[in-house]
Subunit: 333 residues, 2 copies
């Protein structure tokens, strides 16, 4: 009663192993009737191909390494979902490497571990421009950046500058005072993520174009406790009517909480615009900028898979745009 193999499937379906393999990899033309027979045999036996056997027979590892920062956010959950689903379709496995510290990056990239285990590399969020220019990355390995941008590599990125600009344009239409809350970002020459910098630049550009001034800006670190504290500071300092752009839903949520405690009506005197469209945003009526994260992740995977199947063209960059979702926190709908 061992695990069924491709042989068992072939026997049950009354075909050769080659045919089964072809069905598995949707190769060439297989007559539709036999394909169905094979498929049902697979189902009956609950057959699951042995990945190690394919790896050795195919000469590839059928594995993609994903390197990402360790941050527990909906954003990364969705990112991983998008990546995994895309790679799964192409029958690739995924190995996740959480970048807890700098030395781990070096180790992962330098060691022979990855060399064997991955046909390609996905790097999330980090801006690797410097590393690439220093040639610290072995560019013989196909790779793609997601939620980040660098020259000379395939990238799938969010247009955070545009996101900030959209927020700025929205705020510029609102009467009263404008405020913004930003996320404090670690500074590390190599690991830097410019996400919030870009949102800020876009926001200020739009406000300036509209001839509006920002009455106050605040900075919070990315955690619930700090967000709440800063929310208090913002509401203490704000003059009303006020519209606040919170550059992450986490911060916006804290503002909603704090406003409720203080009995401030959200949607009229105080308007709040977030960024992310977290799962709870709709339920709480938070207006925010929705990011097509899964789509971006899926596209990143597609770019990489293209390289893996031989595409040799110049680096391609795919840019994704956030979408303004207006709800009750800005008095809409």
């Amino acid at each position: 009663m061992h695990k069924p193999t491709i042989q068992d499937v072939a026997r049950l379906a009354g075909v050769g192993v080659g045919t089964v393999s072809r069905v598995l990899n949707n190769h060439a033309a297989v007559r539709d009737s036999t394909r169905q027979t094979v498929l049902s045999a697979i189902r009956d036996l609950e057959y699951v191909p042995n990945p190690h056997a394919r790896r050795i027979a195919g000469g590839k590892s059928y594995t993609i390494s994903i390197l990402l920062p360790v941050i527990t956010t909906e954003f990364y959950v969705r990112l991983l979902d998008g990546l995994e689903s895309a790679f799964q379709e192409a029958r690739y496995d995924v190995a996740i490497f959480p970048l807890l510290d700098r030395s781990r990056l070096e180790r992962y990239l330098g060691s022979h571990t990855l060399a064997y285990q991955a046909d390609g590399l996905v790097m999330a969020t980090y801006n690797l421009t410097q590393m690439l220019s220093e040639n610290r990355l072995r560019d013989q390995q196909p790779m793609v950046l997601v939620d980040a941008y660098a020259d000379g590599v395939d990238c799938a990125r969010m247009d955070n500058h545009l996101g900030g600009r959209m927020a700025g344009q929205f705020l510029a239409q609102q009467p009263g005072y404008s405020y913004a809350v930003w996320v404090e970002t670690e500074l590390d020459q190599i690991f830097t993520s410019r996400v919030f910098e870009e949102r800020s630049a876009g926001f200020h550009a739009a406000m300036a174009e509209a001839g509006r001034t920002v009455s106050g800006e605040f900075i919070s670190s990315f955690d619930a406790h700090a967000a709440r504290t800063v929310a208090g500071q913002v509401l203490d300092a704000a003059q009303f009517p006020a519209t606040i752009f919170a550059s992450a839903d986490l911060l916006a949520g804290a503002l909603l909480d704090e406003a409720q405690v203080r009995g401030i009506a959200v949607g009229s005197d105080l308007k709040v615009l977030g960024f992310d469209d977290q799962p709870w945003a709709a339920a709480r009526g938070l207006s925010t900028l929705h990011q097509p994260v899964e789509a971006m992740a899926y596209e990143a995977a597609t770019l990489l898979l293209a390289r893996l199947s031989g595409y040799r063209g110049p680096p391609r960059v795919r840019t994704f745009e956030p979408r303004l979702v207006l709800r009750s926190s800005t008095g809409d709908s």
Copy 2:
């Protein structure tokens, strides 16, 4: 110019492939002279065994899955180091699964991915008692808990109760007022980590035994910004001379910072005791509780490897004790 295989090594060394394999797995008795020959051939060719080939030939995956919470701490960096080094010695690969959310745990445990990819499971920090009792974990898979405890499974854990107790005993010897700062922990029936609860219980027990009272307790979330804010609150509220037990070095560091800004002399009027012994603790003279993290991780790996090689005995629990390191922040040394 392809990757050297075991055949190439055998040829160069003038032996059979069997012998090379035996050397690789330090099997049986191989004459020492031939072993050296083989070894040098391996070095010359820079031969690295193809893991997929072993997996399919050996019928095992030679892979261990490590499931851990996504928290960027020195603690987890060291934990991974300890685990990886131990498994590497035994020629096992490691697959890391960051538990970004609940659904990911379920997916990892339920899916067939892991089934193929791992011979064993390491689960870090999370308290899985409930999951185990509900039989949601397929216990056919050998597993070990590290930095956590549950009935019926091998565990390598830190004695956090003792750690808290040691802190309490130390504070009880100090003149003046005693304060404590705790880390806010998420509440989730399944994911709960009881680390800080235990430290708190031990601390209070020791203080009570010594007939001392705690003049104030504070809670901070686990991030630099919040820690700094809370540090300010603590120093605002404290009466001096004061000794503060910060249940994590991160919090202790913030207290040191805040004290410096306020010109409070640390080591006399204000004493601070941390927990963790982060890399910077020595340089900043922070007294703290050092945890033998690598040793714990190594032991966890050893317990699991024992299961993998057939050990069938009852669950074993290994407990590790923190060590009080006194430096200038408590006026010592």
